[in-house]
Amino acid sequence: MTIHAATFRSARKRLLQMHYESGVGHIGGNLSCLDALLVLHHEYMGPSERFILSKGHSAGALYVTLWSRGLLSDAQLSQFHRDGTLLAGHPPASGLPGIPFATGSLGHGLSLAAGTALALKLGRRSGMVYCLTSDGEWQEGSTWEALIFAAHHRLQNLTVLVDHNNLQGFGRTADVASMSPLAEKLAGFDIALQSVDGHDPEAIRAALDAPGNSCRVIILETQKGHGVSFMQDRMEWHYLPLKEQDYRRALQEIEAQ
């Protein structure tokens, strides 16, 4: 089902509310991938599909996406980061629908996704496996091991999304350990590679609709903190919790969009 602007707006507001109420950060990298997660989960994830969040620090965006689909309740979101919760800062090992693996240590998710895709392929089972990585995560050697494997085994049932927001934990990705341009590095593999505006739903759909006869990799050109002017492309919003004044201002901006 095609989703519209109101769905994106309400998810963005709910994400900020959840982070504001729990007083935790990682907002910037949640806002950079939220649009793609919403399109993917609302429009492409059927009962046979699998999704693995390799950039586990965007658990908040995933929880809100699952909420947006009606798979998590407001009451569950209110438990984000609380004692006794399943909604931890990184995805839990079990207990939540649509979350097959506890991720959070970077460089695991793409291998887990490749293994899942291989299991479906060997079992002659249908369904696409989607995996969202960060861009800094491509500094992990294991991510490249996984890409070699996925390309070699021609895992056509695997689609990798890269949240290419150009910022990592302590600097710009290009300044820390540059792989720029990432697309050129990936292009040498036997994969179906695309780059799209990761905040344009139509562009995301077009990329997800494009057929591939090998593992598909979609680089989502994104911005950390997207949709909130004072967060956009700013590294500190990898970490900062929202103060009340910031929260109100961010909500107003989103309402006006």
Binding site: P100, F101, H108, A114, L120, S142, A146
Partner: protein, 307 residues
């Protein structure tokens, strides 16, 4: 044990959900398995971190998933993948590490695995199998295959006296009956002592057991062995594994918590990854005091404490 490993796996390989990954090892050894399994036998290449996460995902999707490499390359190189992706999710992956202990001998310490089960048993849900004899592999593979939790199998080299009739597999087996010290050895190194222990006269001849499954809390010590330790002439634990994290400290803890005070307690263990020079498994065992003569000196010595 690789031949027996391959035979045992081939016997299981008709299961449609079984999948076997190797980290580019098994040339000349696993070819029959490769032929039997077809597309479900996967050489994952020289990329162990990926192999372990992939095998975790295969198990998560309900497959009977096995991964094979030289021992350190399947637990030390990809340790975080074992921890996060397998153990945290309690996935019934079966890891097979070839050349446990000093098995790779003169190939050097990069290939030795003398801290493997100590490290792995620190993880939740993990079980370790240390088959002692070549004939154990069928039972080991079947038990690991049926397990609902993660398993690590440490492969070694079966060593028994000529003409020795191997006792049927059990996690604990008595190999020599005697009224002397209780001696417990882990895995294949046990076979190297059988002849010498049998030849000892009473009352020195030890009550000798081999253990092939850990941890102790899932595979408790037999009651008659415990009784012997309570009443007898002391206890010696032998393992081709470093002291920290080994069975020796587990058994010492068991003794302490159960209020059992063996007359004396000796622990013979792998002492170092590096010695001054390199050498065979037998050479490295001797450097650690795991050779027959050193162990006989421990068992026959009534007076001095050895730790």
């Amino acid at each position: 044990m690789r031949q027996q490993l391959c035979d045992a796996l081939v016997l299981r390989s008709s299961r449609p959900d079984m999948v076997f990954l190797t980290g580019d090892l098994g040339f000349m050894a696993l070819v029959p398995l490769q032929e039997a399994m077809g597309e479900r036998f996967i050489n994952a290449g020289v990329a162990e971190q990926n192999m372990i996460s992939v095998v975790a995902a295969l198990a998560r999707e309900g497959m009977e998933a096995w991964a094979y490499s030289i021992a350190p390359f399947c637990y030390a190189r990809p340790f975080e993948q074992v921890r996060n992706d397998i153990a945290f999710h309690n996935l019934p992956v079966k890891l097979i590490g070839n050349g446990g202990g000093y098995g790779y001998g003169v190939m050097g310490p990069t290939h030795h695995a003398i801290e493997d089960y100590g490290i792995l048993l620190a993880l939740p849900h993990m079980r370790a199998f240390v088959p002692a004899f070549d004939e154990d592999l069928k039972a080991t593979i079947d038990r690991a295959g049926e397990a609902s939790t993660p398993c690590y199998i440490r492969l070694g080299r079966g060593e028994v006296p000529a003409g020795y009739e191997t006792p049927a597999y059990a996690p604990w087996r008595q190999l020599v009956q005697g009224g002397g010290m209780a001696v417990v050895a882990v895995g294949p190194v046990a076979g190297t002592y059988i002849e010498a222990f049998r030849a000892l006269p009473e009352p020195l001849r030890p009550n000798f057991w081999v253990v092939s499954e850990l941890p102790l809390d899932l595979n408790p010590m037999p009651a008659d062995l415990l009784a012997h330790i309570r009443a007898g002439d002391g206890l010696c634990v032998i393992e081709e594994h470093v002291r920290r994290g080994g069975l020796g400290s587990e058994i010492a803890l068991l003794m302490a918590t159960q209020g059992i005070s063996p007359k004396r307690f000796a622990h013979v263990h792998a002492r170092a990854h590096h010695y001054a020079t390199y050498g065979s498994q037998a050479f490295l065992r001797a450097q650690s005091g795991l050779d027959v003569d050193s162990v006989l000196a421990v068992v026959a010595e009534q007076q001095s404490e050895i730790t």
